[in-house]
Symmetry: C2
Subunit: 176 residues, 2 copies
DNA sequence: ATAGGATTGTTCGAATTCGAACCAGCCGCG
DNA sequence: CGCGGCTGGTTCGAATTCGAACAATCCTAT
């Protein structure tokens, strides 16, 4: 926490510390947004995310599974949330002819309206907390990093069993 | 998703898209690590985090409240987890003389051992997914960004009611 | 056609999280 | 002293999440 400490970290930050801070900041960000969203608009961050994803999609609709993938939760959780949103009238289930088991979740007009009411508020929050701190170069750099991480995860998911070409245990067992 | 699309995003990424990707990657990372941790070591990511924080602290001990702050969850959730870890014998509650209501959570020897068993595995995972993709400059840059975001959150928490000097609604109401 | 295998969504019970209410023990001020 | 206000932890009930099991449907290859 001393100035010297900070200075040295700035120049060559401990990579493990970066991961720790990443987790911490990430959680704080989400927690903050979630709370704000519930207090001022009566919806969860998950629900908000679902509605945003729907609004962004062609025909304001998505399949359940695709939603689960985007939001990164269990399918059952999506079912649960869609039930809730459906009861609130913000969302609607419709069968789509092609695939008789598939279901399309549609954002209703009410849902779109509700979203348009909430979005500016939380977008400005995101900007203030997150985006405004990025200059153009940093945004590009971060975007690139996100892409790399995403690719790493993709590869992992494609080949779930531990990489045979990577024995990961020869490196530091320290706990920081 | 086309090559041109990617190219242009690389050069001048849409800031809103950066936030979206950030959320997505963040969730995937945590999900992945959580699953691995449970499958191979029988503990939750939260539990792991708690134990790491304890191991990193002086005397391998922390106060409940401080833990709640670090992990960023409700105090009740910490109580719950500490009960669990305590039943598993990985952690121990002790009163500290000074403040009769305060409680110090200690990492037991068993806990330390368990942690030392799990840590290399998940550290190598974190490296592979996250850290190895950072060169030195990027790590420094990211660290700096994390600091900024953290400061933003600090200021927010210090002054919870919407900043009077910031009217956030004049900007784009688009939902992407 | 048709059996086997994958995919889609739901249901169910268990685990976890949250917030609000609550009980102490600390502190400052009369 | 002794009365309010704070802080640290717990308890409780409600909300949410997860994974596994299930049912229905599609797909592919014989």
């Amino acid at each position: 926490m001393s100035a010297g400490d900070f200075e040295s970290r700035w120049l060559a930050p401990d990579v493990n510390a970066v991961w720790t801070r990443f987790l911490h900041v990430t959680h704080r960000l989400e927690h903050h947004i979630d709370r704000r969203l519930q207090e001022q608009h009566g919806i969860t961050h998950t629900q908000y995310e679902i509605m945003v994803r729907l609004a962004d999609s062609d025909g304001r609709a998505m399949r359940m599974s695709d939603l689960a993938d985007r939001i990164v939760t269990a399918k059952s959780a999506v079912t649960y949330q869609i039930n809730k949103l459906s009861e609130m009238g913000l969302v609607e289930r419709r069968k789509c002819g092609r695939d008789n088991r598939g279901i399309w979740v549609h954002l209703t007009d009410g849902g779109a309206e509700r979203l348009e009411h909430a979005a500016p508020c939380i977008l400005s929050l995101v900007r203030e907390l997150f985006l405004d701190s990025l200059n153009c170069d940093q945004a590009a750099e971060l975007d690139k990093l996100l892409g790399t991480w995403s690719d790493n995860l993709d590869e992992r998911d494609r080949n779930p069993i531990g990489h045979p070409d990577h024995r990961g245990l020869e490196s530091a067992p320290e706990l920081s």
